[in-house]
């Protein structure tokens, strides 16, 4: 595949790009990265954690799962999950860095109350079977793990590198690459 762009996203900074159908967003990181997506040209259609959980019938997104919109349409598909086996990504928590994300989303003019809950990459949340108790449980990995998200429609993708001592291994640079077929 051809590299369309490649950016280093330092801890406590964000990234925003238009991604066309068929392109892949490759995210290589080690600390928590919150991701949201909007349908290009219509930000009222946005990534939705509940639709995503129920379409996949799983609370931990991984390879093969699709990211769904509030309007019940597929937006992206996770085609690689280098974190699998080390930990789970999270679909339960709100944003760790909401102000940072709102800043990144400035081109779309998203208000705080309309900020969709994120796909929390690398935010391993231990959930107790009997009580449902949630305990953030950072999983350190030696080398950056790679997550590939393939766009199923034209989308706008925003992410923030949002390390937090409670939820994440120490902050590390993330590298975000957009690949075209």
């Amino acid at each position: 595949m051809k590299i369309v762009r490649e950016d280093t996203v330092r801890p406590n900074t964000g990234w925003f790009a238009e991604v066309s159908k068929g392109q892949i967003v490759r995210i290589a990181g080690r600390s928590v990265i919150d991701v949201v997506a909007f349908k290009r040209g219509d930000p009222a259609e946005f990534f939705d954690v509940a639709r995503t959980r129920i379409y996949n019938l799983n609370i931990y997104p991984t390879k093969g799962h699709r990211l769904f919109s509030k309007q019940n349409n597929p937006m992206m598909r996770m085609v690689a999950d280098g974190f699998a086996g080390a930990g789970h990504h999270d679909l339960q928590s709100p944003h760790g860095c909401p102000q940072l994300m709102l800043g990144v989303l400035k081109p779309l003019g998203i208000a705080a109350e309309n900020l969709p809950d994120p796909l929390g990459l690398f935010r391993h949340m231990a959930i107790e079977q009997k009580t449902g108790r949630m305990t953030p449980t950072p999983r350190a990995i030696a080398a950056p793990a790679t997550i590939d998200l393939e766009a199923e429609i034209d989308v706008v993708v925003a992410l923030v590198n949002c390390p937090d001592a409670k939820t994440s291994p120490p902050g590390a640079d993330a590298v975000v690459t957009v690949l075209a077929p």
Binding site: E45, F46, N58, I59, Y60, N72, T131
Partner: protein, 210 residues
Amino acid sequence: MKIIRDDHVPANSGWGAEMKQGQVLRLTAMTIIDFVCFNSHNLKERFDQARTKVYNMKIWISTGDKLFSKLNNPMMTILEDQFAGKGLHDLQYGTCSGPRFARAKAEGRLNQYHHGHDIPIPDHGCWENLQAGLKPWNIRPEEIPSPLNVFQHVDIDTATGEIRHSPKRPEKPICVDLRAEMDLVVAASACPDLAAPKFGQPIQATIYEP
């Protein structure tokens, strides 16, 4: 206690009302109720599943737990939960809807989400019902948050993350009482509940002053 209003909500339809801080909403049913709430002085402030789960630090809530808004304010407190010990309320599902049923059917997955391939598929569900219930307040469909799904017992394997629908529901109508911690617009859908043994039943929505 003083009854402010007491409404019968037919199966697969929606309901909405305003209530004051301190008043209590009693939801009575034996099948799923999709429930949402909004700050009546700022309708952009809505119930939020994620804030609610993280505030309570658990994925299932019951008596004593609070419902939180996206803007991090307590909206309601669960005063009574007659389903406790028998089943769990859900904070994973969004709303069912006509398009959602159609997609499941087209993909041949009705059996994964509900309990049979040969069940009648309604043309609308909780998303449309909540839109109808909220019509007086001009809430757009995408502004309806993912709900607290009362009486929606779901089996979740927290090791693998797998979600499996369950027919476990109250054996007869029982109630959940929620106290308003701010002035609210509240809305409920009597879910068509295609996973329940006899599908969705009517619900009763009662607002009272304790």
